[in-house]
């Protein structure tokens, strides 16, 4: 798989890069917890850094400095994520394409999946659906128009009992719940499903644009195959001020949620300020592709050293 992946990008003149796994600032996201590494050489336990949750910041800094298209296969770390399809340390395949729009990048992701999973993900079985269409058709809910009460009613009808402490103000929390517990298992049953046009609140580091009906949507896609989320792509946000505000908003939600405020990556913000060329980027969970390729049910079946045995 590694060799096929490297050949795939070599043929497309995308440069393989390596960037540091440790950094002092992070890409602040509401629902991503980095692991912290303490440098004890100073003796006070206060000199610390973060293990990357993805190589996004450094790779964007490369693109901003004129690297052209770049890809990376690397280990990333996410605290508290352990389960059937999660291991706190895992392998990410991430790449950035200056000048690409989302459609071009989705085509390329589809081609890569067809290369790595020829039986499960042939090009002919690729499908695209919008976040709204998925929820309207399969959960009876318009994610862009619904309120929390409606979400609670739909959960009850779908047989989902929301966790007791779920934030009653956040529609997104209910949408995540319905996606995770009701919709996801059926996504991409026959071939890769590209889910597009997310609610703007879920934009993270993607641009917000208007869809055909004039509704603001996040220019993002996620790819599902056999109910497994494989990839997450953005038309990358280029505006440093907007990005700084989103980091701050994510930190406010984190604090309200009882979690740590995280230091934003100032170097990334500076790179955006200096000018990131228009580009699209995507992160692919490499272990999950291996899982589907093997027909495994649990990451433990294919990892020689899963976290519960470390």
């Amino acid at each position: 798989m590694l060799r096929s992946t490297r050949e795939f990008f070599a043929q497309r003149d995308v440069l393989e890069v390596e960037t540091p796994a440790l950094s002092r600032g992070v890409v602040v996201e509401t629902h991503l917890d980095p692991m912290v590494v303490v440098d004890e050489s100073r003796g006070d336990g206060r000199d610390y850094a973060f293990l990357q949750t993805s190589p996004e910041a450094c790779m964007k800094r490369l693109v901003a400095s004129g690297s052209g298209p770049v890809y990376q296969l690397c280990r990333v770390f996410r605290a508290g994520e352990s389960g059937r399809f999660h291991n706190p340390e895992f392998t990410m395949l991430e790449w950035y394409r200056p000048g690409f729009d989302l459609e071009q990048l989705m085509d390329e992701v589809g081609d890569l999946l067809a290369t790595l999973l020829p039986d499960l993900a042939p090009t002919s079985r690729r499908r695209t659906t919008s976040y709204r269409q998925l929820f309207v058709e399969h959960a009876g809910l318009d994610p862009f128009a619904c309120g929390v009460e409606e979400c609670i009613d739909r959960c009850a009808e779908l047989g989902i009992e929301p966790p007791a402490g779920l934030d009653r103000d956040e529609v997104d929390a209910y949408l995540d719940l319905i996606l995770s517990l009701h919709l996801q298992a059926g996504l991409g049953a026959d071939g890769p499903l590209f889910l597009i046009d997310f609610p703007p609140d879920q934009a993270a580091l993607a641009q917000v644009r208007e869809d055909a009906a004039g509704t603001p949507v996040a220019a993002r896609f996620e790819v599902f195959l056999r109910g497994v989320e494989l990839a997450n792509g953005y038309l990358e946000l280029l505006d440093a001020d907007e990005q700084r505000q989103r980091f701050a908003a994510a930190n406010e939600r984190r604090v309200a949620d009882g979690r740590m405020r995280l230091p934003p990556d100032e170097y990334l913000l500076a790179a955006l300020g200096a000018g990131l060329p228009s580009c699209a980027g995507v992160a692919v969970g490499f272990d999950r592709i291996a899982l589907l390729r093997r027909g495994a049910d649990h990451l433990d079946e294919l990892m020689a050293f899963p976290w519960n045995r470390m």
Partner: protein
Amino acid sequence: MTASLRVLVWPSVPPGRFVLRGARPSVSAESRMVESYNTSQFKKGLKVQLDGQPGIVLESEFRKPGKGQAVYTLRIKNLLTGNVLVKSYRNGDKIDAADVHDTDLQYLYNDSTLWHFMDPDTFEQYEVPKEALGDAWKYLIDGTKVDATFWNGQVIVITPPAHVVLEVTFCEPGARGNTSAGVTKPATTETGAEFKVPIFIDNGDLIKVDTRTGEYVERASSK
């Protein structure tokens, strides 16, 4: 510890108060009394308390959309009623631990309402009402070793060994020499329970029974 780099799990540890959480293995949940489990401790086999009743976790699953909120789902079997339900939790939520543990006990006798057991180590005796036994009464004869599940000091589940040997106390006479498979007749055993047995079984024979299915396995030569 000589390494100067320590990896910590961030959300639980504010800066300046770093506590080493690596360097497992930690103490197993069974060997100490815990009051609650948080989501990072969720796993199959945990004994938990839900709405004041004890349960065991049959399955624990973690789901998280790439950019979204994580949800943990537990399938929990109520140890009193046997009912199974699914509950979901957010990162950091807690679930009460149940004071549930298993001990080997020895069956002594019954007075048809209470079944009496003894802990062979402490000689302490326990009485269990028939309702709490489920089908276990069918397999208990003097001296049978059982696995007893205690909750708050009370026996709530008695699990007999997978196979037991019982004496047939009454059955209709069968055709001697007929060992053909598939033809059965009822036989009452010394526990009072009835099992379907092949027709060659006679009064006074010993039969081996699978306690998980309640089915006859074979004729036994000794207990």
